[in-house]
Assembly symmetry: C2
Homo-oligomer: 107 residues x 2
DNA sequence: CGGCATCCGCTTAGATACTG
DNA sequence: CAGTATCTAAGCGGATGCCG
């Protein structure tokens, strides 16, 4: 079960979705734009999963055209810190990693 | 590039490998046993990738039979904290997530 | 023991088209 | 705008066999 959850939070897109929601509610297409490279299909599937797991809340405004807001739930908010720690780590270590790769590939 | 790194840490097995190395050097087959469900092939491939990225150090002892130790590099060690934060989060929230799923599936 | 090479099925995700 | 449906290829990963 813990395994299942780690597979979830360690999923390719989950990190980006959580990070994209850190400022507050975001509409569907706005998220697509924020998460470079994600397809409509993948965003939908992953958002459904996160909603099912109680990490993301979906709010439909039945206007025309329809509007849907996604935001972190309370539990989703508690995941933000660990996720952002990872993002920060990635930012600060990109140079080191690039260097390591160059050295490795050279040998 | 940051994207590439996040894909790395968000990889299915990376989190487990890093976590498995937190106590110190571990031999290949010992890791296999610690990481439930990973195949030899996947462990090898992922360890190579992490070695290339400078996160894991591989030490070969040319004895018979051969012995190979894997351990976190200094940079790999700095990734431990964020990763363990995620693991801890997964542990503390498994009940909430299970509950959320039951509620979602019921509706 | 700690791999690498090959084969292969099956999931996954991207592209595309369609809808309320 | 925010999806759903369908198709397809690409690759992920498991199984197996062999090797130093």
């Amino acid at each position: 079960m813990v395994r299942e959850i780690l597979d979830l939070v360690g999923d390719k897109w989950t990190l980006y979705i959580i990070a994209a929601l850190k400022e507050g509610p975001v509409r569907f297409n706005e998220m697509r734009r924020r998460i470079d490279g994600i397809s409509q299909r993948m965003l939908t599937i992953n958002l459904r999963g996160l909603e099912r797991d109680g990490l993301v809340k979906r709010t439909l405004f039945p206007t025309i055209p329809p509007r849907v807001d996604y935001e972190l739930t309370e539990m989703g908010g508690t995941l933000l810190a660990p996720v952002m720690a990872l993002v920060t780590w990635a930012n600060s270590n990109q140079e080191n990693i690039r260097g390591a790769r160059v050295r490795y590939d050279a040998s």
